[in-house]
């Protein structure tokens, strides 16, 4: 692996600041219910296939359980259920994206289950369009913005807000089909 195509997985705010100035961020995109989402690639620790998780008693529906990531125990969250997009059977392409989430106190490692991983692309921050105001501040804060890649809309998620303890949205009751 050469230095140029493997960005460091750990990140400092200073770096982030510099990148925002120079404005070309890389995003990893994935698909949930035919919709394409993107997360900052620097938060992505690894991508692994879906393996059975140990369920946590009395946990919310979108928390699928905990898995063993080389000796560390991390929770896995089904973003599909989380966004109220219904449940599907997990298949061979179902993957867990392991993310490092920054919190005020500590960094946490969390896995998110998505339908499939799609692509990696670079995006100038100028091309990032703000999320439309739908009247619900909470939900919008999880969305960093919208981008247009190859004539397809990509929803860029702000994972630090999305996956912070206590604020993980549970829209499973909506069950939009």
């Amino acid at each position: 692996m050469s230095q140029s195509n493997s960005p460091p997985l750990s990140d400092t705010t200073e770096d982030q600041h510099v990148r925002e100035q120079n404005a070309s961020d890389q995003y990893l995109t994935f698909i949930i219910a035919q919709e394409e989402y993107g997360v900052d690639i620097l938060c992505v620790q690894e991508i692994r296939g879906w393996d059975n998780a140990t369920p946590i008693p009395n946990a919310p529906k979108h928390v699928k359980g905990v898995i063993n990531l080389r000796g560390t125990i991390i929770p896995v969250i089904d973003l599909r259920t989380c966004f109220g997009l219904g449940e599907v059977e997990y298949t061979a392409v179902t993957v867990v994206i392991v993310l490092k989430v920054k919190n005020a106190e500590k960094d946490r490692t969390i896995g998110i289950i998505v339908d499939a991983v799609s692509d990696v692309f670079s995006l100038d921050s100028a091309d990032l369009k703000p999320a439309p105001d739908m009247g619900d501040a909470d939900e919008v804060s999880c969305i960093k913005g919208l981008a247009n890649i190859n004539d397809k809309m990509v929803i860029l998620l702000e994972i630090n807000t999305l996956l912070n303890q206590g604020s993980i949205p549970d829209l499973s009751s909506l069950d939009i089909k």
Partner: protein
Amino acid sequence: MSIDLSQFHQVFFEESLEGLDLMESALMELDVSHADIDIINTIFRSAHSIKGGSATFDFKVISDFTHVLETLLDQIRDGQRKITKDHVDLFLQSVDCLKHLLSLAQDNSLEVTEDASALQKQFEAILEGDSPSVEATSHIVDGSNIESNDSSECWDITFHPSRDMLQTGNDGIRLLSSLKALSDSDIYEITCDVSEVPSFEFLDPEACYFSWKIRCSGDIAYDEIKSVFEWVEDDSDIIISKASPEEPHSMAQPEVAKSDAPAEAVSTPTKKLKGAKPSSENTFIRVGIDKVDELINMVGELVITQSMLSQLSDLVDSAQVPRFGEGISQLEQNTRELQESVMRIRMLPISFSFNRFPRLVRDLSAKLNKNIELNINGESTELDKTVMEKIGDPLVHLVRNAIDHGIEMPEERVKAGKPPMGVITLDAFHQGGHVFIQITDDGKGLNKDILLSKAIDKGLITESQALTMSDEHIYDLIFQPGFSTAKAVTDVSGRGVGMDVVKQNIHALSGSVDIKSKLGYGSTITIRLPLTLAILDGQLIRVGDNIYIFPLVSIVESMECDADNVSLLAGGKRVFKLRDEYVPILSLGEVFNIQSDNTSIDGALMVVVEYSGHKVGVIVDELLAQQQVVIKSLEKNYQQVMGVSGATILGDGMVALILDVQSIVSLFSKQKNIEGISLLSSANKAS
């Protein structure tokens, strides 16, 4: 060049505290009548390094205080003064005082405390008052005298560094040039002695073979020269002497620049050198606990991978790969040994915790006018560092109790036909994967009648209960909150808080404590602790598809549930008649909302578990293996989960949750209460 020294503060504090501990134990060991020079050297070295460190970091109060301490120690060390019991007491007090000063410094609120100035005055009085010999006192001020009288002087300095000076990061050239910078006049001569340089094949490129003779003059104070060599003075021969310009290279009135005793005689530099070298060099390294934990994690993973490989090895045709099986079994053995040694990194001998007791017993027994001897056995027994840190305070409490309540006054002892000297014994040993710590005293023992009447007075038990209580239960009463049998509250013990806290703390470490006592003959308190907090003896159980783990210590027994013995209480709660007591039943499947095999309670498997003295029956589907599991945190990446204390990774790499009995019970009662309320409200609506 400026370095932020504050980054080294923590290390200084830790080292100083260690030094103080060392000093304290050495002082306790010291026999005043036959003072061992090695022990005095140990004490001196500790004081010396604290002084050096505090001066470097500009903790002036500490360095000033240690200075007088050190001066006295130095005189004792050189045989100018005989050590007395008063000195030892004074030194012990200063250890406490220094600890206090250090903690103040840690909080950035360092100031001269009353204790410190009082002690300092006492030291000064000793030093000045009955000065052992005239030279001793004059020596102390020697350096400063030179400085004040002759400000513009000519100095002869001989600097003979140790061979390994370069390895310690010191550079002779830098020292010499900073010395040159001090000298403002043109007289600055250096001669380098290269006679020690060996022939090429014996040359160690990292060793320093040179020594230097320097002559410099100018407006230089003695202390300034000394401070140039501050970092190397312990390992080097440094002789600084005044030279008159007319009398070149005369070595009249030479002095070895020891930081504290500037007027050391030249004839003894070798002895000095030995004394200044830390005897236990390189025996310990300081490693962050997170690094160790990471290592333990990795090895845990390795064990899992290894067991996976062993399972796979059955599939390999041994005829085709003949040495495969051999390799696998070697791997297994190596992995196991690796795991054991890694686990031992966290283990420390219990002497770290026991060391404080000789002092405690000495001080307390003197205060209470009791005659007490302390015996310590098994101090090399190893224990996890975290467990050790948490057991320290409970142990102190128990020992204080034994001194205060256990051992009688000498007269009483003689009357009872016992020797006037009381004996307290601290014992530590390993047994069956646990560490046992025993505190035994040969005092008056616990009086059951007094305990009982006290408990009845306080309303802890009823009189009818008192009649049927076993000895064990009676002794256990002293662990009840608010129970104290001492007639008067002393500042040693007797406030009635404490024993319950002791028990709580030990329970929090998943240990247990019990008391044996014989009236008139003394008591024995036995504490049982797990070897480490990172590993737990677990009982694997199954409910539906899920595997959970009960800590083995919490399990009382397991049995088949017989419907005849089950009765229904209000609110859907059930109790089981277990011999002569009623035990509430809860089903793990119901509490955790998971599918379980059993639907009927009759014939179901019930595990009776205990939490803080209460028993509860938990219905499970199957009992699986018992095994040691490594405890991992759920909170690190997720959050606390009701009913679960942690998680672990099983041999197949799957995660299993470790159950916490107490929180399962509270989860259960919460659920039942909510159900009860909704039942009640629906009933109200119906009516």
